[in-house]
């Protein structure tokens, strides 16, 4: 079946005319239609069919790019011109973007086919995708469980093979954690690798886009199309992009893998730990050397993150005021009423909670104690990694302390925040991180996290690909 093919295989299929882009697109649209995962906020059927027809004509003329005609699902945080872009929020339920995000432009320029916009935690704030406005996304491995978040719709859609790949964003683990919980591959590149222009901001200094795919090879192919400097994003790096597919087959002999002892302490589910240790053993068998490292400040990542991210979001989300676009309350009495009710009614609880935390932490008299202190912790976390990368090439560990949990099972926010413990520090340090399927615990997928030094995506993809050459976990599918 076409939906079990990787992108690498679909590219060949399109080239050899085994199937057309329209056939491929229609196949996925049918699968989306039959899906009960609630992975999509918008299905852009007509748009997709038109793009597929255009792609087929370009393929026929022979002037196609590598990805021409490949379908994908776009996280609903990326602006798409003329198409609803909601960020998973009632606030933007009526918002039709007047412009394309740089990433949307890039994928369009390859004549790829957008199937729809995926569900997500509101404004990317969350780890479970139990979205109060568009409804919860279900994990294809067990529909009573969460897919993870915030790119949960994207991860569930890829895992259920209702799209060959999906875009995601990762501010504190939002690509890696759902990839882990859904048993697929996801990479968050180095901060600055992919343009943030047109990606609705949650926490600007942490947000980074990346692909969710079925394999490391696919991730490399897609990252080639996504990465690169953008003059519209001052924080994007003016740095050349290597061909990420080039070094996938390099041997791992002599690779130094660091295991942070802090990642294997209390709180880590035994089943998850077993899967991770087995994967480490596999790497050892491939010729890698395993070295224990220490990231002593990693446990401070949660408090630091939950200051920095809310501070930035409290400001980033101020533009949603009911004045120019988006949700506006009915019959505002005066300006204050317009602001208060539009924002109270338009935002969900978690978003409001983070805005309030951030506004509080930035207010006069608290700034030094919270924001500045969190920035200092952030510096310490970066230095921990810097030290570790003097000794090792890659750091490995769990992505999430547990496999997918049941929908509605985590009720208080702090417990939910703890689910991000292994992923947050990577964003705080601006490093690339990846999750690859490494096995199962109680029939639920478990992801292995790979963390690299700045700009080491090529190495991470190589390390991930070699594992996938030696294991079959990435072929495990919740569907036929």
């Amino acid at each position: 079946m076409m939906h079990n093919l990787t992108i690498a295989e679909q590219i060949i299929g399109l080239k050899n005319r085994d199937f057309s882009s329209l056939e491929l697109t229609q196949h996925y649209l049918d699968r989306i239609n039959d899906s009960e995962l609630n992975a999509f906020i918008s299905i852009t059927k007509e748009h997709a069919i038109n793009q597929a027809k255009l792609a087929d004509s370009i393929l026929a003329k022979g002037n196609a790019t590598k990805l021409t005609g490949i379908p994908y699902a776009h996280k609903d945080i990326f602006c798409t011109k003329g198409i609803k872009t909601s960020a998973g929020s009632k606030m933007l339920d009526s918002f039709i973007s007047p412009y394309d995000a740089t990433l949307s432009e890039k994928l369009n320029s390859e004549n790829m086919v957008m199937l729809g916009k995926t569900n997500m935690d509101e404004f990317a704030m969350g780890s479970s995708n139990e979205n109060p406005y568009y409804g919860a996304v279900k994990n294809p491995w067990d529909i009573n469980r969460v897919p993870g978040g915030s790119s949960g719709g994207s991860a569930a859609a890829v895992a259920a093979r209702i799209t060959p790949f999906a875009t995601g964003t990762d501010t504190g683990g939002s690509i890696r954690q759902p990839a882990s919980l859904c048993g697929i591959t996801g990479i968050k590149p180095t901060y600055g690798r992919i343009s943030r222009y047109g990606m609705i901001a949650y926490a600007s200094s942490l947000d980074q886009a990346g692909p969710l795919t079925l394999s490391a090879e696919d991730a490399a192919i897609i990252l080639n199309a996504m990465a690169g400097f953008d003059e519209r994003d001052s924080t994007s790096a003016n740095k050349s992009v290597p061909d990420y597919t080039k070094n996938l087959s390099k041997s791992l002999s002599g690779l130094k893998i660091g295991l942070p002892k802090e990642y294997f302490s209390e709180g880590l589910d035994k089943g998850v730990e077993k899967v991770i240790m087995k994967a480490i053993n596999d790497y050892e068998a491939m010729g890698a050397e395993i070295i224990e490292v220490s990231l002593p400040n990693s446990m401070n990542a949660i408090p630091a993150y939950y200051i920095v991210a809310p501070c930035e979001c409290s400001s980033n989300l101020s533009r949603f005021d009911g004045v120019r676009y988006g949700y506006r309350c009915e019959d505002p009495k005066d300006l204050n009423d317009l602001y208060m009710r539009s924002r109270s009614e338009g935002f969900g609880d978690e978003v409001k909670r983070r805005i309030m935390i951030g506004a509080y932490a930035l207010s006069a008299g608290y700034y030094d104690a919270y924001y500045l202190k969190a920035q200092k912790v952030r510096q310490l976390i970066s230095e921990d990694f810097k030290k570790a990368f003097k000794e090792v090439d890659v750091i490995m560990g769990p992505v999430s302390p547990t496999p997918a949990f049941e929908l509605g099972s985590i009720k208080d926010s702090v417990s939910m925040y703890l689910a991000d413990i292994y992923t947050l520090s990577v964003n705080l340090a601006g490093l690339p991180g990846m999750s690859i399927p490494a096995g199962f615990s109680d029939s639920l997928p478990v992801g292995l996290q790979l963390i690299g030094n700045h700009w080491s995506e090529e190495l991470l993809l190589n390390v991930a690909h070699q594992f996938q050459l030696n294991t079959d976990w990435h072929h495990s599918s919740p569907v036929d």
């Binding site: 926490a203 400001s315 101020s318 004045v323 120019r324 300006l335 006069a364």
Partner: protein
């Protein structure tokens, strides 16, 4: 009791960049509402700011012109508050590390002395849009064309001691930003706006509590608003009251200030570094490049005018206040015009006519060359200074060139000495009483005789000659 007034100014100077400070939209004034605001200016979801290098260079020009410390590492911060004409809910500004640090500028005082006024800092920021409250009955209209226009906020030390000093400082900054070509200085269009921090104290005391005056859009209003505020504060303190720290709005129609918000009602702006923008790093090479491209500054020009042209300090100061005035004056001198005559005419009749008609010197109906031609007619005795004033008036009204006007109106000075002597004899003979009084010692009467002669010659006699002949005949 004598009170000392303490004033500091915050000047918002709109930079003359082609595009906005963080977007590619045009900054031109007067376009139809909301036609010059792109997705970035409108604060659409997902958009990001990109710093305009031209704005940075302009800020550096200013910093170098006031001998300021340039911060080679400066950062942008977000100033958070909600207002409908502030699309993002925050203004991108500079808070902790402004691009321009401590500097200074010399201002002229009434007594002819000069005074140094400290500049605390100057920082880059984006302007907000405009709220228009009087367009609709039930709504406020928002025009976001101005949103994102680059501003340089220039903050002075509390060094001014009177409204006059504050105006002198504001004029000096106003002239400087135009000199170095970073601001058009148009106060009517809001390109140059002053806020004044005013407090009073007894001499030698600590600084008093200040009030910030806003909405001042001319130098005249600046002086009025400060004087009003000083009076208000004196009244309160002399009535055993105390000053409340607050922002007060100046109403030029009613010539009053009224409270806008007190310190307690002031926003907590929750400043923090803008994560969308990298720190601004300035290297020495750029500074040298900008320094070399700076034009001659007012103070340098003034010294040169004194040294090269022999002008008085007062004349040199007035002629260099505006670059366009200095340029006008210099093009006259370059043609060979008499320095003192040129200075007097530029600062006298020309300035008065421009002022009366509210015309800038660059738009003057009489060009520097034309004024030079007029002055040469005085120098070579073709016409008298008095007649020249009439010729000037006709030139202003567009009645022709200097030559044509003199010719057509028969204004040429009398050069026929015999004829002049005849007229003078007649005047002397017709006024025997005054002649006697003059001879008895009332020397003031000479003016009377000169006047009579000028009247009889329709002003065309050369006053010097008249004087000489009269003195001969009456002695």
């Amino acid at each position: 009791m004598t009170w000392e007034t303490v004033i500091g100014l915050e000047i918002h100077s709109q930079l003359k960049t082609k595009s906005k400070i963080f977007s590619g939209a045009s900054t031109a004034f007067g376009a139809s509402a909301n036609s010059q605001a792109c997705a970035v200016d409108l604060g659409y979801p997902g958009v990001l700011p990109v710093l305009n290098k031209e704005a940075v260079n302009m800020a550096l020009s200013f910093g170098l012109a006031v001998n300021a410390k340039i911060n080679k590492h400066s950062i942008f911060a977000r100033k958070n508050y909600f207002y409908p004409d502030l699309p993002k809910g925050y203004q991108i500004s500079q808070f902790e590390l402004p691009i321009v640090g401590q500097g200074e500028i010399e201002i002229p005082l009434d007594d002819g002395q000069n005074k140094m006024v400290g500049i605390t800092r100057a920082h880059l920021e984006e302007d907000a849009g405009k709220s228009i409250h009087d367009l609709y009955d039930d709504f406020t209209a928002i025009d976001l064309n101005r949103a994102g226009t680059p501003l340089l906020e220039i903050v002075s030390e509390p060094d001014m001691r009177s409204a006059k000093e504050a105006v002198a400082y504001a004029k000096k900054i106003h002239a400087l930003v135009q000199y170095i070509g970073i601001c058009d200085g148009n106060m009517q269009e809001g390109s140059f706006r002053c806020d004044a921090n005013v407090s009073i104290r007894k001499k030698g005391d600590e600084l008093g509590t200040r009030a910030e005056l806003k909405n001042i859009n001319s130098f005249k209003f600046l002086e009025k608003a400060i004087n009003l505020e000083v009076e208000r504060q004196i009244d309160i303190l002399e009535d055993s009251g105390s000053i409340v720290q607050e922002t007060r709005l100046y109403d030029s129609d009613k010539n009053e200030t009224r409270s806008m918000r007190s310190k307690e009602e002031a926003n907590d702006y929750r400043y923090f570094p803008d994560p969308d923008l990298l720190p601004v790093l300035i290297d020495d090479e750029l500074l040298v490049q900008i320094k070399n491209s700076l034009p001659e500054l007012p103070t340098e020009k003034k010294i040169r005018f004194i040294d090269d042209f022999g002008l008085s300090e007062y004349d040199a100061e007035n002629l260099t206040v505006q670059k366009d005035i200095a340029d006008y004056f210099e093009s006259m001198i370059a043609k060979g015009a008499d320095v003192k005559l040129s200075a007097n005419w530029v600062m006298g009749d020309l300035a008065a006519s421009l002022n009366k008609n509210q015309i800038e010197i660059q738009d003057s109906p009489i060009s520097a060359i034309e004024l030079y031609e007029l002055i040469t007619k005085i120098s070579d005795n073709t016409i008298s200074g008095k007649i020249a004033k009439d010729v000037f008036k006709s030139m202003w009204e567009g009645k022709g060139s200097v030559e044509e006007i003199i010719e057509n109106q028969g204004l040429k000075q009398m050069t026929d000495i015999d004829a002049l002597e005849g007229i003078i004899d007649e005047v002397v003979n017709n006024n025997t009483l005054q002649v006697q009084q003059f001879k008895d010692g009332n020397s003031k009467l000479l003016g009377f005789f000169v006047g009579q002669v000028m009247k009889a010659t329709n002003g065309k006699a050369n006053p010097k000659q008249v004087n000489k002949i009269l003195n001969d005949k009456l002695s």
